[in-house]
Symmetry: C2
Subunit: 192 residues, 2 copies
């Protein structure tokens, strides 16, 4: 998605060789016009898949999930990061490893909002190691929901998550794929 690549190139900040900050337009301050274009592009990619629900994960997935859900005219459900042991029996749960913080956390979703009748579009802002995405896939499996698409805004193509999840057969599309990046040489985009 040209518009997103251009925005990342202009306003993204590379720190070291692995961290890309898109705080100024995607996940702290949000450019709602760009967000709307992201929703439209996800609909262009997956609009024929019979999607009944968009799912994502708090916090930075929520804006993207809602923007997509508007185009699909379906609800958006976001998985919560469990704060404590207040996980009800009527909850899907998955353990996710955070590479950023080097710890594990649980994500949860009420069973009321996802079932075997659903065909799901999973969306998120970033894909690197794929840990959060695997958690969302696990929740879909627990619900018996089928996955009609996975739409990621920014895939770090130099990390293994995308390749592994495509190898598992999931219909993953990323709107921008970063082949490499560095503070001095900037960002190189690719395709998958």
């Amino acid at each position: 998605m040209k518009l997103l690549e251009e925005r990342i190139a202009r306003d993204g900040r590379v720190i070291g060789s692995e961290i890309l900050k898109v705080d100024s337009f995607l996940n702290h301050q949000i450019d709602v016009e760009l967000l709307d274009e992201i929703g439209k592009e996800l609909y262009r990619l997956f609009g024929n898949e019979g999607i009944t629900k968009v799912i994502t994960i708090e916090a930075s997935g929520i804006a993207i999930g809602c923007a997509a859900a508007r185009y699909f005219k379906v609800p958006c459900v976001f998985a919560k990061k469990a704060r404590s042991l207040n996980i009800g029996k009527d909850t899907y749960t998955a353990r996710v490893h955070s590479f950023t913080y080097d710890n594990d956390y649980d994500i949860t979703m009420s069973q009321s909002y996802l079932s075997s009748d659903d065909r799901v579009l999973i969306v998120d802002d970033f894909l690197a190691n794929g840990a959060a995405l695997r958690g969302l896939i696990s929740i879909c499996e627990q619900a018996g929901a089928s996955i009609g698409g996975i739409g990621i805004c920014i895939e770090k193509g130099f990390q293994p998550g995308g390749e592994e999840i495509r190898a598992m057969g999931y219909p993953l599309q990323s709107l921008a794929v970063i082949e490499s990046m560095s503070e001095h040489h900037g960002i190189t985009f690719g395709t998958r």
Copy 2:
């Protein structure tokens, strides 16, 4: 806002005398059509205030903030709940007391995205004791930003936050105000 009151009456779940769950349409599963109407109503209320930024707090404020920001054609910035001590020097910070969990947490916002040039609309899903809202007001004060409006989806009118914040002179409007509620007698709405 009639549409929101009707939805709360139909799909909200009252637990005890103080907890209202709106998980099915506002803060776990999100009805994006209703969300859009909420954004439109906030624009109707505050559209003449010269708003330059919508601010809110993660996670459940994000969808509402972005829906409003679309109508105002301005960015949405969401305060983060601090996970650790990784708060940079270039960050506004406020301490918030959680009555739900009976603990304190910090909310943060990068100084890059709010300044004395901004006129802010603050939005959130719930207002009860007003702790989170006071945190957002504090962040606006730290930035020197003026507050053009505060828009809340659901105010628990039987708790003190709304009255206190109006008494401080802030232009607070709530789309639905609950006067009283109970599991057996349902929900009574009012106005402020």
